[in-house]
Point group: C2
DNA sequence: GTCTATATGCGGATAGAC
DNA sequence: GTCTATCCGCATATAGAC
């Protein structure tokens, strides 16, 4: 942590706390305390709590962008697995965003538009991903199938980690990581996968269900 | 509204406000005002805000229970559509529960166990539903397929309405209702549906994608 | 059961010294 | 840049009269 600016440390600590306890439950006093600075100093760097949230959201956008980029370049199932894993790791690192998204948007309405734009970008990328797989003969799916698959993928990437919060602790350890999330998403595609790509799916199935 | 007790009116107004603006954003003062009573009177009926939330949660459980019951009695696809529709209507009527579930559980940890129990009951019911469809020859799916399908159904029923908040307004009007939610869930089953049951799916597809 | 008035505390934000 | 001290407002919860 030495060498990093106070400003960065505030953002890091905030992210950590927001992820763990939720944005609503973490006060600015708390952030200051855990950063080992005074409330006044915190206010020097960020005039409002909203500014902290907004900065973190921008970082989230920056972290997700290359994942979506990668998604539009796939040509095989294991590419998909990789990009899904990347994406879920990014979302996991900023899980406070989708954790209670309704509250976040209610509190800071300015984030509604960028949040929706992000989801829309995700939808477009997912659609492209499915279309490419279909073109490559990995997927056998109609236009309508692809549309629904893309929607399923976006829904899953945005909401999965919120859902794991609702599964009992023992099951949660099994479902909580980005690995299972990626596997889960792949199973959405699996009924449409044809040819030797199935082998890869079966390999993953053994890994996550065995 | 005449004839209903003040206590019931408080619960109704709270539900309405919680659903619309989120539990965190609605104060007890606000509830009192909208119920046309004083804060003191509110406190006479419910000592704490938590008691209101807990009571509403119990009502939610009561509303969901028959839906899960119905789910375990299906034998054809249109039964599924009916029970899904029922379920989504129930969840929609109490959408504040899953709206920011992480916040709710953080604020009132006593609800964590009942909430997880509810999700688990939903999972068991979904599993049973899929198994019955498979036994009836409507679904062609392995044990592992059924396990994942059940998980997909639970995930969708609990998180779908939170997700719709993230789609832009024009798309939202299309996706927001219980009808589309039920259709979406059915498409998760559709790749496994065999025989004449497909006709029903195509009928629904025309209705929701056309 | 219902009211008015108020206690109490917390969270966001700020002032001003160093 | 960083601190201490503090203001302000809101939300929960309560007291006590009617």
């Amino acid at each position: 942590m030495a060498g990093t600016s106070t400003r960065d440390r505030i953002l890091e600590v905030s992210l950590e706390l927001f992820n763990r306890e939720g944005m609503a439950a973490v006060s600015t006093h708390r952030i200051a305390t855990e950063t080992d600075i005074s409330p006044g100093n915190l206010h020097y760097h960020f005039k409002t709590k909203q500014q902290i949230v907004t900065w973190l959201f921008r970082r989230f956008e920056g972290r997700i962008a290359p994942c979506l980029e990668a998604a539009t370049g796939v040509s095989a199932i294991d590419d998909v697995w990789l990009t899904l894993h990347m994406t879920f790791e990014a979302i996991d690192a900023f899980r406070f965003v989708y954790r209670d998204i309704a509250f976040l948007l209610h509190e800071y309405p300015e984030l509604e538009e960028p949040a929706q734009t992000l989801v829309m970008a995700n939808l477009i990328a997912s659609r492209e991903l499915c279309a490419r797989l279909a073109a490559a003969g990995v997927l056998k799916a109609s236009i309508e199938d692809i549309e629904m698959l893309a929607l399923q993928m976006v829904f899953t990437t945005t909401c999965w980690f919120s859902f794991t919060r609702l599964t009992p602790r023992n099951a949660r350890s099994k479902h909580a990581g980005p690995g299972f999330a990626a596997y889960y998403t792949l199973t959405l595609l699996s009924p449409y996968v044809v040819g030797e790509a199935r082998d890869y799916l079966n390999y993953l199935r053994g890994k996550y269900l065995g």
